[in-house]
């Protein structure tokens, strides 16, 4: 699978409820949407919507088991997003340092 687009990950994480859904997922191996809705102060429908957004960013994987869909956390794209911020930030720090020396010499 191609790496998750970094901006899709950021977008998925921008919503506080989605971060709660992720936290709830992170505390167990796998769970159904109904199981998640039971622990979160949001409806089953809202949970499904947030799971869809998280799946779109490859942060959540889903498996059909009988009549139910089981969701689990895929943490890998979070690392990709953090790496993007870190490497792009470091590049600009270095370039702006050189620019300062170039302008103020």
């Amino acid at each position: 699978m191609a790496p998750a687009p970094v901006d899709a990950v950021f977008n998925a994480l921008a919503d506080p409820t989605r971060r709660h859904v992720l936290q709830a997922l992170a505390s167990r191996d796998s769970v159904t949407a109904t199981g998640l809705a039971a622990e979160l102060p949001i409806s089953r429908q809202a949970v499904s919507k947030h799971l869809a957004a998280l799946s779109g960013a490859d942060l959540v994987s889903s498996d059909r088991v009988g009549r139910e869909t089981i969701y689990s956390l895929r943490p890998e794209p979070l690392g990709d997003a953090a790496k993007w911020i870190e490497s792009v930030g470091a590049e600009w720090d270095q370039r702006l340092g050189k620019l300062k020396r170039s302008l103020e010499r």
Binding site: P5, V6, D7, A8, F10, N11, L13, A14, Q45, S48, K49, A52, A53, G56, A57, W84, I85, V88, G89, W92, D93, R95, L96, K98, L99, K100, R101, S102, L103, E104
Partner: protein, 132 residues
Amino acid sequence: MSCESETVERTETFDATPEEVWESLTDDDRLSEWLAEDVELEPFEGGEISVRDGDGERSGTVETVIEEERLTYTWARPGEEPSRVDFTIEAVPAGTRLTVIETAISGPVAIAEARWRPRFEALRRGLALVLA
């Protein structure tokens, strides 16, 4: 769709005039002193930018050119998703302040949204029926 966390932002103040900073952002010789080893930039809307460095090559398109105020372009390494670079120049008492914001472009987000929107719509219609 966009959110603030998909960006990297840096601000630096230089003991220089906005004119000097603008030249550093748009003149190929000045650019090669700081942006990368070898830079070619056509400083007009729709112009091309190509940047070569020890760690590879990027290319893209110049989007906004407002002399001594604002310069934006997109760039990408071959095969990677592009990002947008946005420079803002402001005169301040200490000299000139430059802000640079690099943002991952939301193409893939738009694709993900398009993929999921029909399901959201179906969900909403289903809800409306249940609640009616």
